[in-house]
Symmetry: C2
Subunit: 315 residues, 2 copies
């Protein structure tokens, strides 16, 4: 018998056991791409949040948990260039949960649905020893705006929105009981509107849910290209730097290997970068190279393979 850890972690497991479906794009992007209308695709995605691993009830308010469960899914739809339309919610409740708690949780969910203009249309409520929330979401994307992980081209710039590592910084502060800015971990916000603009110009796009290293490697393997990432260029906020300093860590590690920033990583031809107009910083952090160059990071005067990413079973 092979443990999932020994096998190479959950991403390798998913590759191994999932088969390509009949979708336009099947397993392996942020959302499945399904036939819909002449000029549009239907997007279909799902995300599970587990107590202990994705949230703790003594850290987060129920409102925050509700928000996070929805933002994670909208982020997947955004990364495809689409807009969310409908969501269904499954929740396993525990015996100690109160009606007031559940109302706050749903209030968080509905606040996100209102912000991004989609509807929560159903769900399943059940019971378990731990609290688990699953959101499944539908979205729609114009065919010309569809942004896949697999369309990066050699010579593209690798860019990110906003700043990275903030969620991991918050998580580490909470884990070590150190005071600091934990908002980005407790209540992340995705980049839906920015993604719609970026989708007009980018070649490939993915949301940063498992750390920059993991996302760039997904783009490389699915686009059949290589990449170089410049560690010194990765955007880190002052708050994240301050948290890392307190904790004795390098914030670039958070950016590369942290989960749940819900920023966007995209690749774009040099001449198109200037055309993108969004209300958040966009930073060039690397370049797409031919496949034989592999995926590497230049940092602290060294060049190393780009490894890592937030894998729950990583060795």
């Amino acid at each position: 018998m092979t443990s999932i850890r020994d096998f190479g972690g959950e991403f390798k497991l998913i590759d191994e056991i999932t088969k390509p479906g009949g979708a336009v794009v099947g397993v392996g992007d942020d959302a499945a791409v399904l036939k819909y209308k002449k000029d549009k695709y239907l997007l279909f995605t799902t995300d599970m949040l587990c107590e202990g691993d994705h949230f703790r009830r003594n850290w987060s308010t129920p409102y925050q948990i509700g928000v996070k469960s929805m933002e994670a899914n909208v982020s997947d739809i955004a990364a495809m260039g689409g807009l969310p339309t409908y969501a269904v919610v499954s929740i396993s409740l525990t015996n100690d949960m109160t009606v007031e708690y559940m109302k706050q949780l749903y209030r968080g969910m509905y606040s996100v649905a209102k912000r991004y203009n989609y509807k929560i249309v159903g769900g399943d409520t059940t019971h378990s020893k731990t609290m688990t929330i699953n959101v499944a979401m539908l979205g729609v994307v114009e065919k010309k705006l569809l942004s896949l992980r697999s369309d990066a081209k050699v010579g593209d710039l690798i860019c990110v929105t906003g700043d990275l590592g903030k969620s991991m910084a918050g998580l580490k502060l909470l884990l070590r009981d150190v005071k600091g800015d934990v908002r980005a971990h407790l209540m992340p916000k995705c980049r839906l509107h920015e993604a719609r603009e970026i989708a007009r110009y980018c070649n490939a796009m993915i949301d940063v849910s498992d750390g920059l290293a993991s996302e760039v490697n997904h783009i490389c393997s699915q686009s059949n290209v290589g990449a170089i990432v410049y560690g010194e260029k990765i955007p880190i906020s002052k708050a994240t730097s301050a948290s890392a300093k307190k904790l004795g860590d390098d914030p670039v590690d958070y950016a590369l290997n942290g989960g749940e920033d819900f920023e966007l990583t995209f690749t774009v031809p040099k001449e198109k970068l200037g055309k993108i107009e969004v209300n958040c910083p966009i930073t060039v952090v690397g370049e797409i190279l031919p496949k034989d160059k592999g995926s590497r990071i230049s940092y602290n005067r060294q060049i190393k393979p780009l490894t890592g990413g937030f894998n729950h079973f990583k060795p």
Copy 2:
């Protein structure tokens, strides 16, 4: 603070905290009904299975767990009169889980997808202390075949497919460690093909996932009608009767209050009943009455309110 139990259980909670969405039919049927094409609706449903509550790893093979997770969702699509088209799967893995285990689980899922001709197109794999599986499913239904809980008419016959109480019988045998037929609990099978035929004639339809009492009450409250159920007419198999006898129970209690039979309950005008051609027994178990009659059961020479159903938080 109000416990969910004191509040009246999970169904009341769902009513309280969910708002009608922008769907054609929102929260409160087996699946959400969404606009799609001129002559068809899109169906969207989700179901969560939790270790301990819905399955136990020492009772079920991973293949069986995979089958059950899918049959439960197909059953929801079937109850609307539709056909499943696409599914996405979320799984939280535990540290002790092996690659072989996961492969068997997915083999079970793919076997159901093949049987009913839909595609598994994506998912989310994560980690937790307990194993949880969530399946979200899309389906399509011709507008003229759409079967809701809310369309029962006074005078309709209340019918069920197959036989009831079999899953609860299996569960009780397993819980009390008594030998007997537990197959219906470990690997239930829904009624997709039968539902497509029934949808041509029925007024209202629902799948039996929480017990007949609960399903008839859902139809009554959403159709604004009353009902009488004849306890003696409820179809119970010899195997279920034998199990109940061993356990000292009344199998009619299993049928009324057991979960996960995944048979169909539907209401149909008397003159249309004979037109339904399916390869399974159909039994008339009651009649739809005016709302002021309430929902009641006639059994053992008594008439009582029809209460119960499998509610994880029932008082």
